[in-house]
Structures are given as structure tokens and as C-alpha cells.
Symmetry: C2
Subunit: 353 residues, 2 copies
Amino acid sequence: MSSARRERLREKLAGAWALFIDQESIYYLTNFSGSNGTLLIAPDSQNDFLFTDARYRERVKKLDQGLNVSITADLNKLLKDTLAKSKEILIDGDLISAAKAQQLKEILPEVNVKLTKNLLTDLRIIKDLDEIAHIKKACEITSQSLWYLINDLRPNMSERQIAKKFWQNALERGADDLAFTSIVASGENSASPHHEPSTRLLKIGDAVTIDCGVKLNGYHSDMTRTVFIGKTQSWQVEIYEVVMQAHKKAVTESLVGQTAGEVDALARDVISAAGFGEYFIHGTGHGVGLEVHEAPILSKSNHTKIEENFCFTIEPGIYLPGQGGVRIEDTCILEASGLRILTKGSHEIVCVG
Amino acid sequence: MSSARRERLREKLAGAWALFIDQESIYYLTNFSGSNGTLLIAPDSQNDFLFTDARYRERVKKLDQGLNVSITADLNKLLKDTLAKSKEILIDGDLISAAKAQQLKEILPEVNVKLTKNLLTDLRIIKDLDEIAHIKKACEITSQSLWYLINDLRPNMSERQIAKKFWQNALERGADDLAFTSIVASGENSASPHHEPSTRLLKIGDAVTIDCGVKLNGYHSDMTRTVFIGKTQSWQVEIYEVVMQAHKKAVTESLVGQTAGEVDALARDVISAAGFGEYFIHGTGHGVGLEVHEAPILSKSNHTKIEENFCFTIEPGIYLPGQGGVRIEDTCILEASGLRILTKGSHEIVCVG
């Protein structure tokens, strides 16, 4: 698949060269996963080059044969030699440091090193079959681990203990890594959407928001549920039901051809109509793939049209300062007929412990 | 401690402003750990500013009181207003993307946005007492987990199984995270210093190189042992003893005032003298702190003088292509009297299973 991706990029480049040094782009275009790589995409496939160092001599042997690979301790010389005949080379300004970009300009004084944006975004935003399979599996491990954990919640467990349990369970089920540090936010902490798990102990009447995901074969998942310990309070039920309706509306009414901003509005309008608009303090979702946060960002101002095989989260929330909050999040894939949820399990109120 | 670090930086800046957006720098200078932050260091401490968004409203309340914090959805406006009176602002070109640097120049047309290097390197390279305590604890968890794992190695375990066991054990012992994806390289795979754990099963006569570390309170550890399953082969013993001597020489003879290149030579000369120079294909070590690889890099061409409270690894290795390899690595802290090893345990040949 990675050689087909290089061809799609080459077509888009229309005769220009491109250079990548970030791990995600290189993995996407070659399947190489080392910490040090420089990838050149040439106007013709015979001249694509991956440069890395001797630590990866064995690993590069497993890459597809269509790609030239050089092991080198003198990258600058190799770049000079290879790019001597190019006039212009594109680099994505979000995927390279300012210092590296400067250095490239210095070692290639006769080449127009051109900063550009979103070199791979419109390729990566549409997931191919391989990618969907990896994301589905990551979502499966996540849902299983999260529900196993939810069933086990009891008063007096600490947020940190809960976060660690998710981790261990996800590893046992085959995850390569966490997608990000899990968020476990209980009681008043749940008013903070990005709360760091603390030593706070669960108590009866708490809402507990658990936001978690795993990494598998380079791909991510992302999922959140807010559940209640022992009993619910009426204000919790009120905001829960609003968030649940917002989530449901965005999931059932998102369609190919809408803009990311329109999807955001599906959830946001429900929350605003219920009077909680000012407490929904983030976007409705974000793309998921080789990064856990990637395009498309579902926010008011994003006019990107969503298409088949876009993969993104739907995650409305309400956060009442000093009181607590609720968020419900699933990772979804957009199909011709609408959104399919990949992270499984109920969206109704769950009381445990 | 973080306000003292801001003062040391301010002194170095001698009247200039500096701006940071990377998580490590911001954590180092403020203890703030969110995924979105912009830190301004001003010529006088009253004007230092941390900007973040509403998701972190609760978290910033725990920061020290000397720091101005603004929650904003319009960072650009705030930057413009705050920096109106500055003439020049320094950013570290290695810690910001080319696109972000470009954007800063555009939103601050009247300010000289100056790319510089190593803004924090000479502060971060010397560890303070807090940092040393975190690194020591991370090293303790790592050694305990690794030796527990080594005792458990048996024929027919897969490299991936072993990597996962380290992970679970480290989490149980209190690690916040792994420092990096563990390397488990057995048999001929051990010839590849950065081998990715595979489904290969251990067998009698294998060398197994395990390179692992954990993250604790933002700080890292890094440690490697190569052990043998059931029995050793004579070529394995030969290279093991050379690596052990190289490791020992670098650990016992590193002294305050030497250059990083001289420390590299301590280990490298032993390996070269034994005839294996061309098979030691990486540097002798690297700094460890908020990043698992940071300054000083111990390589031939690095003339940085090592000083008290530098923290770095010593990790010589020999890698025979197609055959196998050996690496021995410890994280160490440089004291007035010499290097102290923080990752514990024998360097002699160990046979298990």
C-alpha cells in the first residue's frame, strides 16, 4: 500500500520534489518506522530515496523493493548529490523544525527549498482498507478494556489507579501502546476536560469521565464515557441527557458532503438549545489515524467537506466549573450511508460500584 | 524550582524576550504540563506570561503565583498586545516548527523574531536536586523491572512478550510511562541496535539484548543488558568481555572537565584495540532528562566539557551483522569524584532459562 501512496503524492506534486523527515509521514509513505529517516519523493518513482543510519541496516531490508535506501553517516552530502538536478523541493512547514528548514536551505543553496502546508493532509484524511482495519482493531481493544474497567469501578479507587488499570488491560489485549495519557476525572475534576489523573478517591455520587485510546500498528483510537458511582444527582442526569442527545444527533445525521463545521453544529446546537452552549468549550471532534489528533478538526470555522472513509471522533461535552462535567466520545468512520461507530458500547447512563 | 529556572534563563537573555511553545521547555520553566501552551519570558519577572486554553483552566491554578496566566481562544491577539513593547524576541529553532516560526513573524511584523539555538541547553544539561531525585527513582524502577524480567526469561518466549512484560512490571512499580518502546533483540536480531520486538522465540544459545527505560514525573531513565539463554558461545563471550571492559573504562575514568568526545573515546578505544571498532556503530552515550535523548551527545566530534550533575548514559556495543550483538548501558550522574551509576545490577555475563 505504501508504494501506492507515494504514487498518489507524486501525482499531486506534479513534477516537484518533496522531502519528509517526520516519522508519521515516512511510515505512511514507506512503512519504515525508525527514529531517524529522510525521505525524498522524486518526480519519477525510480528516484525516490530513503536515507537512514546504520542502526536500521537490518530493518530497511524488509521495505518494499521499489524504494532506494541509503545508509549514511553524511546525510548532507547525500542530499546535495541527490538533489543537484532538482530546482525546487517542497517541505511541509508543520512537519519540520525551523532550524532544520534553515539548515536545508543552507546546504542546498542552489535549490529553491519551499515551505508549504498540508502536503499529505488530503491523502491521509481518506483512510484506505489497511488503515481502517488497524483503527477498527485499536477501537475494539479500547472498548473492551474500557468496559472491563467500568465494571470494576468502586468507591475509594484513585483516578491514577483507574488510569493504570486501563493501561495494563489494554496491553494484555494486544495494544502496542496507549494513544495518549488516559484522562480519569472524577467528581468536580470532571469539570476539567483535560484533567490529569490525581490521587483523588472515587466516592458515591461522583461522575467519572474516562477518556482513553490505544495505538496499534501505528494507528490510534479515542473513546470517552462518563459513568456514575452508586447514584446520580439530578443536575448530572440533566447534562448527561443533553450530551447524549448531542452525540446521537451528530452520529446519526453526519453525511458525506457536509462540512466539518456543519458536523460540529449538529452537536453544538443541541447543547446550546438546552442552555449549556457556553459550557461546551471544545470542538465536536477530530480526525484519528497515524496521529490521535489529525485532520479534520470538527470546529465551527472548518469548511472541509467530509467524505467517505474519513475517520473522526464525535465527542460533545458539558463542563460546569466547580461542579463537574460529562463527555461522550466515539471514534467513527464515515461510510456512504453515514457514520459507523467503531468504539462500542452503550451511551445511556451507567451507575456502577 | 521552576521560578528559579526562569531567573537563570532571564539572566542569560540579558534583556531579550524569549518565547517557548514546546511541552518540555514549558514544563521545565513553569511545571505546566498541558498539550497547548505558549510561554513568554520577559526582561523582568512581572511580565512573564503563560497562555493556554480553557481545557486547562483548573490545572493552571496549581502553578506558582509569580507567573501570569491567561486563558485565551485568541492567542495571536494576546501575543500582539503583550509583545507590543518588545523589539526582539528569541525562539529556539529546534523547538518550533518552520510554519509556526513563519506565523509568528507574520503576526508580529514590528518585532524582530530571531531564530536561535540551544536556548535552554546549558541550563537543562546541569540537573538540579529535584531532577536528580526524579531520574534516580526512574532508574530504580527500571533496574528492578529489568532484573525481575531477566530472571524470568525462558526458551520459547517471544521478543514481544518480553517487551510487554517489562512494560507491565514497570507500571506496577510506579512508572508513569515507558521512556521509549523497549528494544528486545534476540539471536541474530541482536546485531541490530534498534531492533523492533518481533514474534521470534528465544532459544538456547541466544543472546538477548533488552534496552528499556521509564518516565516518571517528566524524567527518563535508560538501561540495557545483554544476557544469554541457557549457554554462551565463545564468540559471544569474546565480544561481551570487550564491551564490558569498554563500559567499565568509560564509567570509572570519566571526570569533570573532560570533553564528551573524550568520554566517547574511553569506550571506543577499548573496542577498537580489540579489533571490533567498525562494529561499534553509534555514540558511547547521550544525556538523559526531560527527554530520553538530550545533550550531551557522547560522540567523537562533541567538544562540550562535562560537568558536575550532568546526567548521561554509557552504552558501548558491538554488532556483528548476521550473527548478533552485545550492548551494556547504564544511566549515570557525574559527581565531583566521578560517575555514579543510577541503573543498578551486574555487568558480568548472565545465563538464564
